[in-house]
Amino acid sequence: MQKYYCKNCGAELYWDANSQSLKCEYCDNEYLPSDFEDASLSKNPVKSEEANKQYTSAGQDLSDDMVVYKCNNCSGEVIADKKTVATVCPYCGRALSITSKIVGEFRPDLVLPFKIGKDKAVSAYEEYVSKSHLTPKEFRSNRVISKIQGMYVPYYLVTDTAQGDIVYNCEKVWSRRSGYDKVVTHKVYDVYVSGVARFRQVPGDASEKLNDTFMDTIEPFDYSTISSFNPGYMAGFIADIADVDKKSVVDRILEKIKKGLLPLLSEEVGYWNTKSLKSYTCNHKGIKSEYAMLPIWIVSEEYQGTIYTFGVNGVTGKVVGKLPLSKSLLAGKAGIAFAIGFVATALVTGISSIL
């Protein structure tokens, strides 16, 4: 498994989001991933079959889905999903990067490094959960907060030139008086708008484990620090390879692009008293897709039989996730509102009857 060591004191290095570098916790030296030659990643991509041979020799199959690896630091046995390319040893806490897997078609093109450190992610999560008075207190507990972990999620980023044509049926309406009657005149038009837009790196998650709609809400990502892939950026985080068919992800992204183009074209229709969409077509040209690892802080907690998952965008700090509702807290809030309404009305009506 791939690790990075400080050139000064030999301590293991981890990715630090605040400094955007691989940082030594002992002597504070900082390095970029490009400072280390990655011997396991050859410049010529290895074919899939050879990649599979490497992966099976590095770990022992436990089942169809799971593999056992040995931690080089403490010799502890680490069980991981076959799609995992980075994880953390549960015994010694060391970051483990399974670089033998990230070769060939499984090697990402790009990686967006974490910009939000764990402390900021925790603060953002706490603020998000605290804004609701009806969220059960266990979601604010240290037990849940300590489960927050940084994860690189496999995505496909699609760049596409989309051309669309829309037709709206529109009316201009005005009225006049004729005796006691109101006469309304309607002028009907068809409005045609044709336009083209370049959509750059629209993301679609390629992990079957994570809900697509949930992942769509954590966008947008700021790509200003996106880099060519280097496993050094993943030190200290968990990561999976893409396990969803690329074509299906790209098709879903193209559908997102089609939906995104419509409001841009509709705005050009202009102001009318009434308008309704008659037809819409969209063509995609120059489709380019890239496989990227995007950063997310993630935590899940079960409450009353339902699993609630929260995500913090590792670049922008945006927090998403459906907040659970405590029925007892809701009932308590309604009860207090009832008491206030009852007492206030009784006081007002009592005072008015005295007066």
Partner: protein, 286 residues
């Protein structure tokens, strides 16, 4: 001569106020005056006992009177003046305080058979005006009509009185119909206030609970993909408006003024006697 003149100048009601069947119990006047001499002594005595029972039951004055000569007055006026004299001029200190709207805290009822005007009449005073509506007075008098027709004046008075007292008792003790007494009004008002507080409290609770539920249950909205389009990377290739047609719709009488509804209602009856005091009542001819 002087004596005769003096005697002639005595108030016209002088002799008629005397009754051996008259008493004042705890501020309630009870009496039977058979000035028309249409009742036997036995019947007078029975009416007196009845008046006592009714007065105790409803805590009001109960009076029976027959009239032979109304001195040119209507039964209403005659009975008003008779009643006023008893309350205000007789020298007996009845509670005629100003605390209620009738300015008379001595509720009572006077049952009259006027042989001069051929009328049976009920005269009410103070709160009894509210406890006995015009419709109920009419119904009570109807109870005695058939007996008056055959000259059974005692039974007619008993029937009228029975019906009247029954209504008064019901409205005074068993129902809180708007009798306008201050205690029943405040009781009704208290209930209305309590009910209003309950309803408003429930509305506030429902509004707060629903608003909180909707707010907390709001799902995060997926971001539109057009955030990945730079402003200079969207271009309109063509825009065209094609005219199809024109049509008109007509809303008839849209500007015609609407007529307003009117309604009217009758009010209850109370009147003022010549002495300026409030009375209620009604009568039937026989």
């Amino acid at each position: 001569m002087i004596v005769i003149v003096f005697s002639m100048s005595l108030p016209v009601f002088a002799d008629i106020y005397y009754s051996e069947y008259q008493k004042n119990i705890e501020g309630n006047l009870i009496g039977v005056w058979d000035n028309a001499d249409i009742l036997t002594s036995n019947e007078e005595s029975k009416l007196y006992d009845l008046a006592q029972d009714y007065a105790a039951k409803c805590d009001i004055s109960v009076l029976f009177m027959t009239v032979s000569d109304a001195k040119g007055k209507s039964t209403e006026k005659y009975s008003d003046d008779f009643y006023d004299h008893l309350l205000y001029d007789s020298g007996v200190q009845y509670n005629t305080s100003q605390n209620n709207k009738w300015k008379n805290d001595n509720p009572g009822i006077l049952f009259v058979i006027d042989m001069d005007n051929r009328m049976s009449y009920i005269n009410t005073s103070a709160d009894v005006i509210d406890w006995l509506s015009d419709r109920e007075i009419d119904s009570c008098l109807t109870a005695g009509d058939s007996y008056l027709g055959r000259g059974d004046y005692y039974t007619a008075l008993v029937k009228i009185a029975d019906e009247s007292i029954s209504n008064i008792y019901h409205w005074k003790y068993e129902d809180t119909r708007s009798n306008n007494s201050s205690s029943s009004v405040s009781s009704v008002r208290f209930r209305i206030n309590w009910f209003l507080s309950l309803v408003i409290g429930l509305v506030v609770a429902l509004f707060t609970g629903t608003r909180s539920y909707i707010k907390e249950n709001k799902a995060n909205v997926p971001v539109s993909s057009n955030v990945y389009v730079k402003s200079n990377e969207f271009k309109v290739l063509n825009r065209e408006e094609r005219y199809l047609r024109t049509y008109e719709t007509v809303d008839r009488d849209y500007y015609k003024p609407k007529s307003s509804d009117s309604s009217s209602h009758s009010s209850g009856s109370s009147h003022h006697s010549s002495g300026g005091h409030s009375h209620g009542g009604g009568g039937h001819h026989f």
